[in-house]
Symmetry: none
DNA sequence: CATGAATGAGCTTTCATTCAT
DNA sequence: CATGAATGAAAGCTCATTCAT
């Protein structure tokens, strides 16, 4: 899973650093605690001062890693989405791609989760997720509606729901089992989103409780 | 939404503190950054030293707030789940309950999200979420399978997926619109989970990419 | 030489700190090198964190000390200037006061000198010196011209020249001898400024070399 | 005002560096803050590592600049002092020379002032000032006493006082007006030192306050 | 020779927590 | 009981200097 080394406005990061950083990312990202610059330094073997030579702050380092991971996600999800099959095939592939990605980058993915609610990085991260996951899924859904495969539905909600469901389940598995049983999880998730859970699809009515 | 003031091992927290803390929770929780003891103190008007008189650490204060919110969630979701309707009715009610809860406690909910990956609080939080959301949903699903309303399925995955989907979509709305259009979101989410997105439910096969 | 503890916009500084700081000032100020917060802490026995509790930055600590010293200077010089004697008596007294002050606060005075060319403190320091020394001297000179004791002259230049001369000579003595022979120096300085160095005062002409 | 490129124990500094450094000196010297190696590098356009190739430390670079400036001072003051006029003419010329020098090198002069109290450079600087200013003035004063032009007086104090007065007034003007009105200042200073400020020179007595 | 890259050492500042009243 | 004051233990960042080409 090669990191595409995106620029974030700082000095072009040399390949050797990129390699060390991404290699070490999972180990320091999964300390389950605030990541300290020293953690990054120790885990990657890059002296703190050297990191500061290439990045202008700790946040830049994290942003760099997150953007790298998101870029990777984008690539693999886009690939899955483009695989010219049916709507269902493409959707299933996208789910698998995201799960594979989670399984491959557990630490950084967690870092990403921890940063969803932090320090001004949100816009960039949100954009990254939108590019990497939402956009392809929106495309698949929209294609599916066009060709009559899918029922008309709230694309925005469904897309976000799919992302949330896949990510949450993936994390749940990672935390519980240290790994993800991609086959089982992907099947179950696809099945829910594709066919729903009801045995019978007779129209029902949602209650408005308020 | 009264906070049930659970004990976490510290001396009984006086009502006045509980009031001030929960009232202020949203303001300091949404600083979108690491919450510092001083933030809590300033937002709640309770001097730092006084907080330390009642709690034994910052984590205890956060845990107290999170548990309070989770207890509230538990109450309202349990209520929704117990409302003796059909499986679909109960499920829809649970989704609404969680969305209402998110809308009512955006700050603390975010705090909770930000703390999913932090400082040893995870087990307690996970337990709280399990009690508050997963358990009732599992019950509903299991009931539904028993009475033939639901297709046999991977209850564990579905439950987690539902939680992730509802929460993620809820946050997405909060961040984008500052509020949640509960009706629209609840309908859309219920519809996906209940019936799926496919127009036609002809059996399909999931590809195994690996 | 009591420090009048002026406020600089930060937390009111407790007397005990003021005492420790001013007592230690000379020792850390005379390291002849950049003063580090740790020097101040060690010399004064006040923990670094405590200093940061009372002051908002290292510069604030230095500013506080400088202002204190300048306030002291102001008091003693004003006293000397007010001593209702003749113009010459008052001027001589002011010179002595400034030399005494230098001798009593060598370290902080040096700190002041080192800071004349640094970090935005200049305006405040300049104001302090103006209040403490220039203003009284200007008053004496102006009084002297009014009562016919002094020849008409460029008060601004003379005042600054006197300050520069007294301070420079004082420092020179401090550095060379570790102390100031106040009697000798004061006499010599007063004599130059009062009578000049020429044996004969026959009018002369200054050459314009360019 | 050509910099005579004195050696300070480092390899011979190439002319191109000398040019760039002295040209840039005023700009980085007037940052009014601690001069960092990077400031010097940026202001002069000479890469930091190149500076280290030619000088062995930051202090060497500063010393080089200061000594250059002091050498210039020495040349022009010596010239003024030697101009075979009367004592008063020579003294006036020296005052003008120092003021001209200040006006021509405000930044480096300030750097010099700021470094009077710093890092081990003091002895060299003091020696430079002594050679450049004090020695010629001492000579003039001593000549004047020999030929009966001057009253007997404390040559050491007067010399230092003159230097302090001229320098301080010069800086004062630079800071206040961005330039020095050399004519006015030189006249006023010479007048004070030559004739004193008293209208009447009737003998007076200095009070001994202690 | 010259210089972009790298880094050891150390600085200022922050913050959770404890103390003393 | 409650709290203003105090502080130990890091954390983030800077900078003079050295390395490697």
């Amino acid at each position: 899973m090669t990191n595409s080394a995106p620029e974030v406005g700082m000095r072009r990061v040399p390949a050797s650093l990129v390699a060390k950083l991404t290699a070490a990312a999972d180990s320091f990202a999964s300390t389950f605690d605030d990541v300290r610059m020293d953690d990054i330094a120790k885990a990657s073997g890059i002296p703190r001062a050297t990191l500061y030579y290439h990045f202008s702050s700790k946040n830049e380092v994290l942003a760099f890693l997150l953007q790298g991971v998101l870029a990777d996600l984008r690539v693999s999800v886009a690939l899955a989405a483009r695989s010219g099959g049916t709507t269902s095939t493409r959707l299933a592939a996208v789910i698998r791609a995201q799960l594979d990605h989670l399984a491959a980058n557990p630490g950084v993915a967690q870092l990403l989760l921890a940063n969803l609610g932090k320090g001004g990085r949100l816009p960039a991260i949100a954009a990254g997720i939108d590019n990497g996951f939402h956009a392809p899924v929106r495309q698949i859904l929209s294609d599916g509606m066009d060709d009559g495969t899918l029922a008309a539905a709230d694309i925005e909600v469904i897309t976000t729901a799919l992302f949330g469901a896949v990510t949450t389940v993936g994390f749940q598995w990672l935390i519980a089992d240290r790994r993800i049983d991609v086959d089982r999880v992907a099947d179950a998730l696809f099945s829910v989103f594709w066919s729903g859970i009801a045995l019978d699809r007779t129209p029902h009515t949602t209650l408005r409780t308020r």
